[in-house]
């Protein structure tokens, strides 16, 4: 019960949505690196590496990211 309440108040669950030209990320911890061909994003216990071309952040928020580009590879490391 308490766990549910804490989870509701402080939701740490992350979300990665992959579309043709966009990747939507929710609840990230840190944007480690970003260039036009590479992006590295850290979650609480995961690390996402995105490789591609013309990578550009359309929306940069405290908890949200909307990345535009042509994506070739997405790695999810523990």
């Amino acid at each position: 019960m308490v766990e549910k309440l804490i989870n509701y108040i402080k939701n740490d669950d992350y979300l990665i949505g992959i579309y043709d030209k966009y990747i939507y990320i929710y609840n990230y911890n840190e944007l480690i690196n970003i260039t036009s061909s590479y992006a590295e994003i850290k979650f609480k216990n995961k690390l996402v590496k995105i490789r591609g071309e013309k990578i550009f952040i359309k929306k940069l928020e405290n908890k949200e990211l909307l990345i535009e580009g042509t994506f070739k590879e997405i790695d999810l490391d523990a």
Partner: protein, 392 residues
């Protein structure tokens, strides 16, 4: 990023990836809106604008959102907004001020009295207008305070103008009328049978003959038989014996239409070329018709008419001479009785002449009727007195 303190900025001649890198490294959150040639448009927080201002060559705010937007708008348009608000206040004030009051009566005294009453109730020139409830209260107050003078009063609001409509109380006029000096005179030639009077001087007695217009109760109170002491409003009632001669003729044959109770409803089209029956019967003998238009439209070339026909039966009656005489008496008596009012009656009747003709009979009947012969005649200012107050 909330919309509360956001701005839309334009960054000119900048590489998209350089801009992204700079913003990310400066910890500036943003939403990229669009790119037009070399110019980029972003939505950022107003506080972050100061951070990035120094990092790009040409950056400017295009639009403000939220509270900051409202504050900037108010600062820019302060004079206009102040003038508008002030104008609005003046307009509301002026449109709620009474600029004219008119009272719809020709009685100047009443008009003055009402003006004073209205002023006491707060309705005067350049005062503020009253609410509907207040107007009703004022109206009722005025009617209550002037119940002897006013029958009905209404305060109509027409823009900044109050129009007071009223009906003066008729009792006032009636009272004035009651004081006008007058005589009681005979309305027709008669033999007086009954006199009652409460004011005036009786000139005639019971069983006196009077001509039409002759004074019965005099409004002039006479002193020493030659000087008028006073003029009064003569009051009284006079009944007398009045005479009528009635001529009646009754034919030996007559036709009577007796209603059968049958009704035919005839519906038809009415055009310029004639009528066309839809329902019912077109030709009917001995009927009384009542027509009503049911459909009449300007775009139709016809009308639809309903004709209600009440059917009567035609009957011919033959009457004997004695029956015709009785019928003539009955008709003449009915004609006299129709004229009579309360307290009036037929004293006697007498057949003067009977003339039997080939197709009808003619009767002449004489009636004596007990009838109210009271009439009034107003007394003229100069009537009956000379310059020294003596009777002419």
């Amino acid at each position: 990023m909330h919309n509360l303190n956001q701005v839309l900025i334009e960054i000119k001649n900048v590489d998209k990836y350089y801009m992204m890198d700079t913003l990310y490294r400066s910890n500036v959150y943003y939403v990229f809106i669009e790119e037009k040639e070399e110019n980029k448009y972003l939505k950022i927080n107003i506080n972050d604008y100061k951070k990035i201002k120094v990092k790009f060559k040409s950056v400017k705010i295009i639009k403000y959102y939220g509270i900051s937007g409202l504050v900037i708008f108010l600062k820019k348009n302060l004079i206009f907004l102040f003038s508008f608000l002030w104008g609005l206040i003046i307009l509301i004030y002026l449109s709620n001020t009474i600029f004219d009051i008119s009272i719809n009566t020709s009685d100047e005294d009443l008009k003055y009295k009402l003006m004073v009453d209205l002023e006491n109730n707060g309705i005067k020139k350049y005062a503020l207008k009253k609410s509907y409830k207040e107007l009703n209260e004022i109206k009722n107050n005025i009617i209550k305070n002037n119940s002897e003078l006013i029958e009905w009063l209404e305060i109509k609001e027409n823009g900044t103008h109050y129009l007071i409509e009223l009906t003066p109380r008729i009792i006032v006029k009636k009272k004035e009328k009651e004081n006008i000096p007058r005589h009681i005179v005979a309305s027709k030639d008669a033999l007086i049978k009954h006199i009652v009077f409460s004011s005036g001087n009786a000139e005639k007695e019971i069983n006196d003959y009077v001509k039409k217009g002759e004074i019965i109760i005099n409004g002039n109170i006479i002193k020493n038989e030659e000087t008028i002491k006073a003029r009064v409003h003569a009051e009284g009632t006079v009944f007398g014996e009045v005479w009528y001669t009635v001529k009646v003729s009754v034919p030996y044959k007559y036709i009577e239409y007796i209603p059968t109770g049958k009704v035919i409803n005839h519906y038809y089209f009415k055009t310029n070329n004639g009528n066309m029956t839809i329902l019912g019967k077109y030709d009917t003998e001995y009927a009384i018709s009542e027509k009503k238009t049911i459909i009449d439209k300007p775009y139709l070339f016809f009308k639809v008419i309903k004709e209600r026909k009440e059917i009567y039966e035609y009957k011919e009656f033959n009457v004997t001479k004695s029956d015709a005489i009785e019928e003539a008496k009955r008709r003449s008596e009915k004609a006299i009785k129709n004229k009579l009012k309360e307290g009036e009656y037929i004293i006697s009747k007498n057949v003067l002449n009977i003339s039997p003709l080939s197709s009808k009979i003619e009767l002449e009947i004489f009636y004596k009727v007990y009838e109210n012969i009271t009439d009034i005649a107003l007394i003229e200012e100069s009537e009956g007195i000379d310059s020294e107050g003596r009777i002419n």
